[in-house]
């Protein structure tokens, strides 16, 4: 099977979805690039290169550059989706949710409910998410935990190229608004990805590792890191389940609970600060619904309660390391 980076897998999904369904279009800042300039329009394809080639393949009506107006971008997606299009908007960095939050959480996320179930809003918003680039406090936030809190939105966080393609194709087909977070630290990571179109259903976790001693639940760029931690522990005779929920809303509660029932221990890993986080969310789930199986305190491995620092040394300390994940797993076994 061909090996592709997450960037290329997402790009391929966009190409295929747009070819299949002419109600799909992409919109955002520099998703084509060079508009108004003397350069060739379409030669950029997004600052992370994810929308490369779409302008050339589908033209200016389907790959639409915008001014720096995130609220208008999301609004445009919301409105087009309400009348039956399937827009895929790009908000460059997830941190910029700050300037378009209302359109996401109070508008597209609530339409269906406020309108008594009589509308659909099949829009996708893509975000480059998370840390790892010394991009400092305003360009490093994961943000998916924030949107997970809002009913009406679906929230997706792929951890590898294969999942990214299948989840994005599902997102575009999905009739609800889907927030699609691409951990930017993983854009260059590659794995086998089929050329054909395929979808991965929402609310179905992936079992990344299987083991007996502890359940580890990790999100996004923490998934490969947790896998590395678990692999390192094998030598010490410790084996863990590693669950990647893939979608945080809906959440595959059953997969998590089943595993915790079996192992009796839980470590939850995410790159966000701790408060009102997904690590807390999953821990609380287990503390209620798998309580009687629990043999040890539930450990959360996450960033500290601080903004993301710039300096690489500080950021390395900030984002959970494999070492910290190992320590947490061991703590549950102590």
């Amino acid at each position: 099977m061909p090996v592709k980076t997450m960037r290329d897998a997402i790009n391929e999904a966009l190409h295929q979805a747009m070819a299949e369904d002419d109600s799909v279009f992409v919109i955002g800042e520099d998703v084509a690039g060079c508009n108004g300039s003397q350069g060739e329009v379409g030669s950029v394809g997004g600052v992370f290169g994810v929308t490369g080639g779409l302008y050339k393949a589908f033209g200016p009506n389907r790959c639409i550059d915008t001014p720096i107006s995130e609220s208008a971008i999301v609004g445009a997606a919301a409105g087009a989706a309400l009348v039956g299009m399937r827009p895929v908007a790009e908000i460059m960095f997830a941190d910029f949710i700050g300037v378009c939050m209302d359109q996401i959480v109070n508008q597209m996320g609530k339409f269906r409910y406020m309108f008594g179930g009589k509308s659909t809003c099949p829009a996708v918003i893509r975000f480059a998410s998370g840390g790892g680039f010394s991009a400092a406090s305003q360009h490093s936030q994961a943000m998916y935990q924030i949107l997970t809190a809002f009913p009406g939105l679906k929230v997706v966080v792929p951890s590898n190229a294969y999942d990214a393609k299948g989840l994005l194709l599902q997102a575009i087909k999905d009739d609800d608004p889907v927030m699609f977070f691409e951990p930017k630290a993983l854009y260059q990571e590659a794995c086998e990805v089929p050329d054909e179109m395929y979808t991965i259903p929402f609310g179905q976790a992936a079992y990344v590792r299987e083991g007996d001693d502890c359940t580890v639940v990790a999100f996004g760029q923490m998934v490969p890191r947790a896998a590395a931690a678990i692999d390192a522990l094998e030598a010490e005779g410790i084996s863990c389940d590693l669950i990647d929920p893939r979608t945080t809303s809906p959440l595959d509660e059953a997969a998590i609970l089943e595993s915790v029932e079996a192992t009796g221990r839980l470590v939850v890993v995410d790159e966000t600060p701790p408060r009102c986080s997904l690590t807390a969310d999953i821990a609380a789930l287990a503390a209620d619904k798998a309580f009687h199986a629990l043999k040890a305190p539930i450990k959360q491995v996450c960033a500290p309660h601080s903004p993301t620092p710039f300096s690489p040394e500080l950021e390395a300390e900030y984002i959970p390391s494999a070492e910290k994940i190992i320590a947490a797993i061991k703590a549950t076994l102590a």
């Binding site: 279009f25 919109i27 009506n61 389907r62 639409i64 915008t66 001014p67 107006s69 609220s71 208008a72 971008i73 999301v74 609004g75 445009a76 997606a77 919301a78 409105g79 087009a80 989706a81 309400l82 009348v83 039956g84 299009m85 827009p87 209302d102 359109q103 109070n106 508008q107 339409f111 269906r112 409910y113 406020m114 309108f115 008594g116 179930g117 009589k118 509308s119 659909t120 009913p151 009406g152 679906k154 999905d174 009739d175 609800d176 259903p201 929402f202 609310g203 179905q204 979608t247 809303s249 809906p250 959440l251 595959d252 509660e253 059953a254």
Partner: protein, 325 residues
Amino acid sequence: MTIPKEKLLRAYRQMKTIREFEERAHAEIMNGQIPGFTHLYTGQEANAVGVCEHLDELDTIISTHRGHGHCIAKGADVIGMMKELFGSSEGLCKGKGGSMHVADIEKGILGANGIVAGGPPISVGSALAAKIRDNGRVAVSFSGDGSVNQGTCFEAMNLAVVLKVPAIFVIENNYYSEHTNISYAVGCDDLKARTEAFGFPVFMADGCDFFSVYEAAGKAIEHARAGNGPAGLFAEQGRFHGHFVGDPQYYRAEGELDDLRENSDCLKVFRGRVTTDGEVSHEELDAIDADVLALIDDAVAAAKAAPRPTAEQVVEDVYVNYGNA
């Protein structure tokens, strides 16, 4: 511009329907029958109708917290709306939206909206869809004089120009945003010029005169529909009630409300004009009045008798489907 008689009668019926809907809603709110925050459109009826008479079901509108008039003008089911205000599960939004979120997508009504200037960006999206599909549709957003200072409103206007989409920005100047006058909240002296400077024409209308609104709206909509990009419409007309029901209205000049009702009532102005012209008789209009009153009576009665939502409905209608979870 001559307007066929049939259309005139329909316009009158629509305005009268809005008026009676609002006045009865007002009474029922005072009675404690309608919950929540309700903002009435009484007095501004000619705006909504003067615009929506140019639209068909495939064109879209998006509205504001003060949305009843726009929805009725665009063809929303009046009885379903009244049921919605009362919070019935048979309401247009099953009692989940209420006054501030009345919507009817099939009629091209993308909803009242509780966020000031929440609508314009969404309307640009609908206009963008029309452009992509090249189907001749237009998208109208209504918003108030208070909305023009919200960032989303500016962004929407600029994006509409950049993408040259058929979006019409209708700004209804009723002079106040809540308790603050437009002369304070809009820093510049000439809001029309500020808006036009975004790169699209803005047409002006006297909001208590259906004919004025209809004519100006026609130009704005024609401009957009013809593929020339967005257009604006400013309609000036005071509201007859407070910002919300219960507003003490300290901001009013002495006699302002009486003057409005006396001299700026779009129903009176309309009646005066069409009967003077001899196009329509008083009797014809009176007959419409009677029809409308009966309709609103029915609506209120139906709303009071309508079933109430049940507990399990709280969690319905959040998603089309929610995966395996």
